[in-house]
């Protein structure tokens, strides 16, 4: 074991190298460009992020951001359907796109001298998309198959989806990223034209480039291709602040399954919404205390000592545009009930309310965050992803440089305070998956946070 002193040295020593050298530019049309050089390999990742996702949608058109993302591969004024993908492929690129609650993003990874291919094509589909009705109707079928694959036939995903719809009443985090099946089956060309017109414009986009590139050269290239695009008067998003919860909520979902599953979620502030700057970071530390490694409390006490869980984990989604939930999910161990698991989790939280975490535990979580920051630099894709996500949920990319410092400042008392303040019944939703043997005729629907890749 390392002494505490050595661990502190470790923490002080590392962040110095992880300084992100990000160059930020803004074009006259409002497009933001972030460039982070990383010349470990002669590759470049290029990502275009739009500030639109399922949390921008209203009932009846849920999932429209996601199907629009699919249609972005289906042809523009100057590209035939599929031609985008063919050109990227012929240039040795790998590409895809994903939609989340707060963003829609497109990416290509290429050898470094081919960045221009990405910019040329992305600029084209930023303003010149053509939604063909026949292609759209085929794609509705594809998306409904995607929904069956990800959600309808996946009992835990069904629970997650119903869970979000139960926990959030008027917040748009109520509905699934992929959309409800009935909405998927009824998208019309006019819906997509409207959505595209509204959100796909340079002033609603962030372009992130990470790789073996020179920032000013990338800026020149961006000016050449994205510069001429006209900005759009983008719509204002209504606040849709979630109504106050008055007591815990319960949900049981029956589906053909072999295993039960338990979900618990407490409404918490996130970095964009927090009244007290430190609280979301304390919640992140809490997630690390509870789960994430073999030494975390859940693994040690619930899985190994009490053997009440086969697996159980905690997750704090801090990078959201709106208030979110701190989630705990788990599968009971053999011959243990969901009820027993829930009680065991509750005891863990009660303990945290009464006793501050130990210095060693706190230090362990912080050391892991510091180490992770180094490990994450192994992936250019991840680095770009982090910058794009921060910008699109309404944060600043510079938070990626400040994050470790914020985590390191969290005290044991602060962790205790957030548990006391937020882990109360008035913020809690509990969901249980009840396995049934017989097939159910009316399957429910998907989840919230997971981006859906095309």
């Amino acid at each position: 074991m390392l002494s505490l002193k050595k661990l502190l040295l470790l923490c002080l020593y590392l962040p110095a190298l992880a300084i992100a050298e990000v160059s930020e530019y803004q074009l006259d049309n409002g497009l933001k460009l972030l460039v982070k050089p990383d010349d470990r390999a002669p590759v470049v990742v290029s990502q275009v992020w739009y500030k639109v996702g399922s949390s921008y949608e209203h009932n009846g058109i849920t999932g429209i951001s996601h199907i629009l993302e699919h249609m972005m591969f289906k042809g523009t004024e100057n590209l035939a359907p599929g031609e985008f993908s063919e050109i990227i492929a012929a240039n040795g690129g790998s590409q895809n796109a994903f939609t989340g609650r707060d963003y829609t993003a497109y990416f290509q990874t290429l050898e470094k001298d081919r960045l221009e291919v990405s910019f040329r094509l992305e600029a084209e589909r930023m303003r010149n998309l053509i939604i063909d009705e026949i292609e759209l109707f085929k794609e509705r079928d594809v998306v409904s198959e995607e929904r069956r694959l990800r959600t309808e036939d996946n009992p835990q995903a069904l629970l997650r989806e119903a869970f979000n719809a139960t926990a959030f009443i008027n917040s748009p985090y109520h509905h699934p990223v992929i959309g409800w099946m009935s909405d998927i089956n009824h998208y019309q060309k006019a819906d997509l034209d409207d959505w595209y017109q509204k959100w796909y414009a340079p002033n609603n986009a962030v372009v992130v480039v990470v790789g073996d590139v020179e920032p000013d050269a990338v800026y020149q290239l961006a000016q050449k291709y994205f510069g001429p695009l006209k900005p759009e008067q983008t719509a204002t998003v209504k606040p849709q602040v979630e109504v106050e919860q008055r007591g815990e909520r319960y949900l049981k979902l029956k589906a053909p399954a072999q295993l039960p599953y338990l979900m618990m979620g407490w409404k918490v502030p996130v970095i964009t919404t927090a009244e007290y700057d430190w609280e979301p970071y304390a919640l992140d530390v809490l997630a690390g205390i509870l789960s994430g490694t073999s030494s975390s409390r859940f693994s040690r006490e619930l899985v190994r000592d009490q053997q009440v869980a086969a697996s159980v984990s905690a997750y704090n989604n801090n990078f959201s545009r709106l208030d979110d939930m701190f989630l705990i999910g788990g599968t009971p161990a053999q011959n243990k009930s969901v009820d027993a698991l829930q009680k065991a989790i509750q005891v863990q939280l009660d303990t945290l309310k009464m006793m501050p975490v130990s210095d060693a535990e706190l230090q362990r979580v912080k050391t892991q965050v510091v180490a992770s920051e180094v490990y994450e630099l192994d992936s250019v894709f991840y680095q770009a992803m982090q910058l794009g996500m921060l910008e699109t949920v309404g944060l600043d990319w510079q938070l990626s440089e400040q994050y470790v410092g914020k985590i390191k400042a969290i005290t044991a008392e602060q962790v205790q305070q957030v548990v006391q303040k937020y882990f109360i019944d008035e913020r809690l939703t509990i969901g249980e998956l009840v396995p049934v043997a017989a097939p159910q005729n009316a399957p429910q629907t998907p989840n919230s946070g997971d981006p859906h890749a095309r």
Binding site: L2, L7, L10, Y13, L14, A16, L17, D39, R40, A41, V43, G82, S85, E86, A89, A90, N91, G92, G93, S94, Q95, L110, E111, K138, V142, V143, S144, E145, E146, R148, L149, E152, D153, N154, P155, P256, Q258, L259, T293, S294, S295, S299, R300, V303, R304, Q307, A310, T331, A333, Q334, T367, V370, A371, S372, V374, Y375, D378, S379, V380, R454
Partner: protein, 440 residues
């Protein structure tokens, strides 16, 4: 640290024009472990993979033995219990992993190179890979967790399809079994079985060691010796039996309460050292291996909207791994999708790729070559494959050239000799399961 970065820039500046593939150092330790090392000084971390020829293919009559042996190593040693092992890694931010598939059983470690962190993590890595205690309480718990995993598989049409697909392809060959075992075998496996398995297979002569990271050659030598010397010398695992070709087509419909049917179609394919590797790899890239632009994706998804994902791939293994084509579609249209998938394969075996398709595939594979090696973890993956399957050290250097050399005629020849559309195993999971086990 700043010094290191300056060194890196200088190094890169000097070598920019010749960047092709990382320089691989290869040697054998005194105990007989093959070592593959790449010095990657840019980030202050190191990745270590210790790979044994000790996957599920070595399970014999008790499937799950290899997986449980592998998973038990982190549960206790002569000196440390589960919590102490976990703390040794977690307290210094190191990440330990263990996984066991059909061929490989892998122990992995990612750690910062900061002296204390690395020493503590490596010491524990050495301890658990050489002196596991197989504590009884952990054994019972892991078996229970594995039972839970088996239940999870039973609620997934995809997992059910995979289990039956391997069974249909491999019959009596060890590859037929799932590495996760089954209820019956889990009931029979004892700690003595794990100890015997460990003693036979977790030995220096049966191991490949991969290291990538901020380490100089001399330090890598010391590290390799430390890891290898802790192991019993032992001997390499015996060769696996040859995989027989299918002698008859088969078609299984398995009822499942899902809205979609999962379709798998295939045959035993190729080993990692198969002489037809490149023609078949490039050939399949055109057919179903290139994502959105592949023929199968075009026929199934783009033209007909039948599935979200439709693909084909070779999974080259020590012996002939599967050639697998797959898709998922709503139950009512599974017959139609199967027909299109089979016809697409048939046409391709008969005609091969067009010149244009072949050219596009080569451009895609070679033009994106650098993407395959753009992180330490990807480099470590490749070193593992090169070491475990004994590919030549210049495999990566020659990769592009080998791909570019493949001709249309070679692809057609390889496909016609190796892939027989009339001898395919088909597994369909979903719907009512009518026509169960019907033979074509």
């Amino acid at each position: 640290m700043p010094v290191k970065l300056i060194g890196f820039f200088a190094l890169l500046g000097a070598s920019l024009s010749v960047w092709a593939t990382p320089a691989i150092d290869h040697w054998q330790t005194e105990q007989g472990t093959e070592v593959y090392f790449v010095d990657a000084p840019q980030l202050p971390m190191v990745d270590i993979r210790l790979i044994f020829d000790a996957g599920g293919a070595r399970d014999g009559d008790l499937p799950g033995t290899a997986l449980l042996t592998n998973a038990m190593l982190k549960e206790g040693t002569a000196k440390s219990n589960t919590n102490a092992i976990a703390a040794a890694f977690d307290d210094v931010g190191a990440k330990f992993g263990s996984e066991s598939e059909r061929d490989m059983a892998v122990l992995s470690l990612r750690t910062l190179v900061e002296d204390n962190a690395m020493q503590q993590a490596v010491d524990m890595f050495v301890e658990l890979s050489s002196q596991p205690a197989f504590p009884k309480e952990s054994f019972e718990r892991l078996k229970n967790q594995l039972k839970t995993s088996l239940q999870a598989q039973k609620q997934s049409p995809e997992a059910i399809a995979e289990r039956n697909f391997y069974q249909a392809l491999y019959g009596d060959h060890p590859y037929a079994q799932m590495p996760t075992g089954n209820e019956d075998s889990l009931g029979k496996i004892t700690i003595a079985d794990l100890e015997a398995f460990f003693k036979q297979y977790y030995v220096a002569q049966n191991a490949v060691l991969v290291m990538v990271g901020d380490l100089r050659q001399a330090d890598a030598q010391l590290l390799a010796n430390k890891i290898s010397a802790a192991l019993e010398s032992g001997k390499a695992a015996a060769p696996l039996p040859v995989v027989n070709d299918l002698t008859a087509a088969s078609e299984q419909h398995i009822a499942f309460p899902s809205s979609q049917s999962h379709l798998l179609v295939g045959q035993p394919g190729i080993s990692r050292t198969d002489p037809d590797y490149f023609p078949l790899y490039v050939g399949n890239h055109v057919l179903g291996g290139s994502g959105l632009v592949s023929i199968i994706n075009n026929e199934i998804r783009e033209k007909r909207g039948l599935s979200y994902s439709a693909y084909s791939y070779f999974r080259p293994m020590r012996k002939a791994g599967p050639y697998q084509l797959g898709l998922q579609t709503r139950n009512e249209q599974s017959e139609e999708a199967l027909k299109v998938l089979r016809q697409t394969l048939r046409d391709y075996v008969q005609n091969g790729p067009t010149d244009e398709q072949l050219k596009a595939a080569k451009q895609n594979i070679t033009g994106g070559f650098a993407l395959r090696l753009d992180s330490n973890s990807k480099i470590a993956d490749y070193l593992g494959v090169i070491g475990f399957y004994q590919l030549p050290l210049d495999y990566l250097d020659n990769f592009k050239q080998r791909v570019n050399a493949v001709t249309q005629a070679e692809i057609q020849d390889a496909y016609s000799r190796r892939i027989d559309p009339d001898l395919m195993a088909t597994v369909i999971v979903g719907g009512t399961g009518e026509n169960e086990n019907k033979n074509k």
